[in-house]
Symmetry: C2
Subunit: 336 residues, 2 copies
């Protein structure tokens, strides 16, 4: 398709985000509609979405008016294929990544797109070689600086980021303890990821389970959830321990005002702890390192990405709600 | 006095700590009594207290049963002079530092004492060259890693640690903004310490004052107080900023359960912040470096220790209560 050729593609579904959720997310704030396939203006690119990201952070974005506005299309990180381009930097067939609307076809300015030209199977750009994988890679290896022999605690260990952090921690020679919701997820972590010990937070007595599984304390805690888990983990840290704050998933799906963990700052002071916030975008200069290493480790059989694929754009809201209710294992995505 | 000579010193006052305080500290939980001058047993040392430390942390210790027990003498960091020693490591006249009972004369095992033999005026071992000064030195310079040109925010800036951190920050070429309670303290910071800007937290609108004094955000926040000030400061941090958690003074003098700042973890994540807890004891191997540098800077007129001296052991509880109510400027101590 030449740049100037008129687009005549048919069938463009779009999920509208109609209202800021109050309390737990339900699917009725989303509305599916048919729209025309848009045409790219100067400097714009038309692409077809192939995969949409499903992660707890999507729920957080819904509360941030500078990210998501009710009445506009639902958006998330997405991987797609260029259909037509009015920008010299992109050509038909290019694989691109963007924070894109939930629709079959979308037009965005070229500068909002990132070309993914590593030649890997496309789903990996949504998982292992995208935000989820890079978050685990930089958050754990760069920000966390794990050392062999350390006791590493991972929350939401069966989730997208968590399931990769568990494997990177084993690869680093650490003893790894994972927190997950329910016996089934814990059993999965033991069976598939070779984790050393698990904690089922739904079974209660988090403090006791932490003492039992980490009798000498935790050196490095990779936290995806915040809330009561972070509060309990502060008490389980070794003197001088490090905490990587990666997510606050326990607090996103709620209309309650967030409260901080009561161990901040006193436990952090007395135990000489370091807490590092970690937005993966801060490492954008090093993305090619992550892509190279993560792919190499997959090829060598040392890590394995687990994908939880939701089939069909029409299932996307259900997939997000289910994720927030703790359904998934591995990295969740919608195949459009 | 020979090691074996019987001690016949007279007049030993002692402050008993009679009950764990409920809510704000009042002096009626302390009881002054006369006791005999104790005799040192084998391996023990008799010393006369010269200075007692008065700091917000004393109030925190009262809630920690492994540090302070009701019905026992009140204790704090102290500097004294050896009167008689049954240990080869100490001799009459030695200046010593210890976590000691609030009394004129005390006996402690030699291993609980630290000899201070730098030859400096004794009050400095309670101030600039003791816990207060070292906390500022290591917390700000080592843990904080300030760089010239950075905007540094200091809470309890007129306090013992704070007033030194302000000066170390100026010495490091930083722009320094201090938070203190009341116009008078703020004026003192401007007049005596050459601070660049001040925030009177008692005047309200902390968020607005932070925006006004730190329009480009805060690079490094040295926090002595926790609570609402820490919560507001999280929102005022630059992307990638650092927070040194040194104290939680706003929360000590209360029977309310501590709550954490609501910006933890989400603001810490989104802004890529680092929070470091800082117990000065973690740097004990480097105390001689601190002593050498701090004293040199005083000699060169580049920093100045401000002491708030409470006269007389009988005034110690009043001094602590007054400190907790925000009375002091500089490093507070009791001259026994």
């Amino acid at each position: 398709m030449a740049k100037t050729e008129k687009v005549t593609l048919q069938g463009n579904r779009q999920w509208l985000y109609t209202a800021v959720p109050e309390g737990k997310l339900t699917t009725d704030i989303f509305k599916l509609q048919e729209i025309d396939v848009p045409e790219p203006g100067p400097g714009e690119v038309l692409f077809r979405n192939l995969y949409l990201n499903i992660m707890p952070g999507n729920r957080a974005y819904m509360m941030m008016p500078d990210v998501m506005q009710a009445g506009r299309p639902m958006t998330s990180l997405a991987v797609g294929e260029v259909v037509a381009s009015n920008d010299p930097g992109f050509a038909q067939g290019d694989v691109v990544e963007a924070f894109a609307p939930w629709q079959d076809f979308a037009v965005m300015p070229a500068q909002a797109l990132t070309k993914r030209d590593g030649g890997h199977p496309v789903e990996h750009y949504m998982g292992l070689l995208g935000q989820t994988g890079y978050t685990a890679y930089f958050g754990f290896l760069h920000a966390g600086q794990p050392r062999a022999g350390e006791t590493v605690l991972v929350s939401a260990a069966a989730g997208g980021v968590g399931s990769l952090v568990v494997q990177l921690a084993k690869l680093s020679g650490c003893r790894v303890v994972g927190i997950a919701g329910g016996r089934e997820k814990c059993a999965w972590l033991e069976r598939e990821l070779g984790i050393d010990a698990t904690i089922d937070y739904k079974a209660g007595n988090l403090d006791g389970q932490l003492k039992e599984t980490c009798p000498e304390g935790v050196d490095l805690f990779f936290d995806n959830v915040g809330g009561p888990v972070l509060e309990a983990a502060l008490d389980a840290m070794k003197f001088g321990g490090r905490i990587i704050l990666c997510g606050n998933a326990s607090q996103y799906d709620s209309d309650q005002p967030m409260v901080g963990p009561k161990g901040v700052p006193l436990t952090v002071i007395l135990k000489n702890l370091t807490m590092r916030g970690f937005p993966y975008g801060a490492y954008s200069q090093l993305f090619s390192e992550a892509e190279r290493n993560l792919w190499k480790w997959v090829q060598e059989g040392r890590i394995k990405p687990f994908y939880h694929v939701i089939e069909g754009l029409e299932q996307a809201p259900d997939g997000l709600v289910a994720l927030l209710n703790g359904s998934n294992r591995g990295m969740a995505m919608v195949r459009v």
